[in-house]
Symmetry: C2
DNA sequence: ATATATTTTTAGGGTTATCTAAATATTAAT
DNA sequence: ATTAATATTTAGATAACCCTAAAAATATAT
């Protein structure tokens, strides 16, 4: 089924919201996610339900039907593959790629994505450490812990970030924190949750709780 | 100024039509080029005129204003750069790239195009031999002659094709005729304009006038 | 359990980009 | 120079997305 950019964006929003909340997506949540009005969301939900892409009952929130999940997953696949392309091949920095990938993900061509995937050597994770679903929609699972949950003496590699905002990523750049950085917890302050950590066994820096919650670590 | 995909397609159509015809584009010509109705064209022309992108007087045809030319040229630049990417990096064949590039050309990011251009090593021509305008909109000019205008004994390199249709390009594939092929005219038949030519000094083949008119040769 | 607050839907509009059919202007032909 | 043919524009609709304001449904708080 061929969808419009708007329809695709709604499916992706519903997917992300219900994934995070582990329940159906509310009209308001979708409206906020897409920076639009609740009335516009209701409007679109009716059309998506008509096309059998979502389960929608008035006032009850929405979930994706099988075809909706498939479409949303493929969009995420395309978005993340393009992000890898932008960073690995065009040398963009990880804080510059979201908006462009947001456009590129709507390009329609199965062949293009197959070839792009091969060209990039079948990456499993994007530049923010998010898993790239394969052509069948399967995500690679990886054990990871927010830095904020780690204890004094523990060590691990930074494998992902939760917050993708430019502001946050630029701040990490300024701290010289990037995917692959080895982080060792020196101590954590119970009072405010801030932590002192060592990066790659070299520089010691202080990280606030807000930041630590958004850094995903593979322990060991 | 930010334009819609539809507006961009109209500007590109007007550019191509008036370039080929060397005069203003008619409503019907635009309608045919975009496979739409004349009424829709009139409608859009009013809006483009309102935005100062074209010169439009009822019943008189249209020409592009400076800003319209600039936008059309940048679209052509983007389209052709993406085609180079698809063929050179993703190994698509020259007959498969038009539709995909047609979508990619609407992606909006100056930075993306700058980096793509660098990544591709600043190509001057696309996979069909069409010149790629530079960031300032300047096209590289190259002397070229349709094969149909060449005479017995003359030789040259295939540098471009006029017809971009999949059918035509696939036919050339089957003849093993590609950009860079050296073509030597053995003789031409005045009766129907067909020609016997040698490819790369090896195989002799016969080419009809219809095909010869669409092959662009750099003599010598 | 009832009042209040919040969420969601409906009603009524607006814009963009299409369409077909009808009217009008231009061009070509005799 | 009329008439016929062709090209173009106008008129009137439709569909997709979006909006604000008002109404209705649901959730919450005392």
């Amino acid at each position: 089924m061929k969808l419009s950019t708007a329809e695709e964006n709604y499916l992706k929003a519903i997917f992300k919201i219900s994934e995070k909340a582990k329940k159906s997506a509310s009209t308001n949540a979708i409206a906020k996610h897409l920076s639009t009005s609740a009335a516009s969301v209701t409007d679109m939900l009716k059309r998506l339900a008509e096309k059998e892409l979502i389960n929608y009952e008035k006032y009850k929130g929405v979930t994706l039907k099988t075809e909706g999940i498939k479409q949303a997953t493929q969009l995420i696949r395309k978005h993340r593959l393009w992000e890898v392309f932008l960073v690995k091949k065009l040398r963009f920095s990880w804080d510059q790629v979201h908006e462009i990938a947001e456009q590129l993900e709507h390009i329609e061509s199965k062949e293009l994505i197959m070839r792009l995937d091969a060209f990039l050597d079948y990456p499993k994770f994007d530049p923010h450490g998010d898993p790239i679903p394969n052509a069948d929609g399967k995500f690679t699972i990886r054990s990871q812990t927010p830095l904020s949950d780690m204890h004094k003496g523990q060590e691990g590699k930074l494998v992902g970030v939760k917050d993708h905002q430019t502001e946050f990523l630029k701040y990490l750049n300024s701290l010289n924190v990037k995917l692959g950085t080895i982080i060792t917890v020196i101590d954590s302050v119970p009072y405010d949750g801030s932590m002192n950590v060592i990066l790659d066994g070299k520089n010691e820096i202080m990280i606030t709780a807000a930041v630590a919650q958004n850094l995903l670590i593979r322990k060991g």
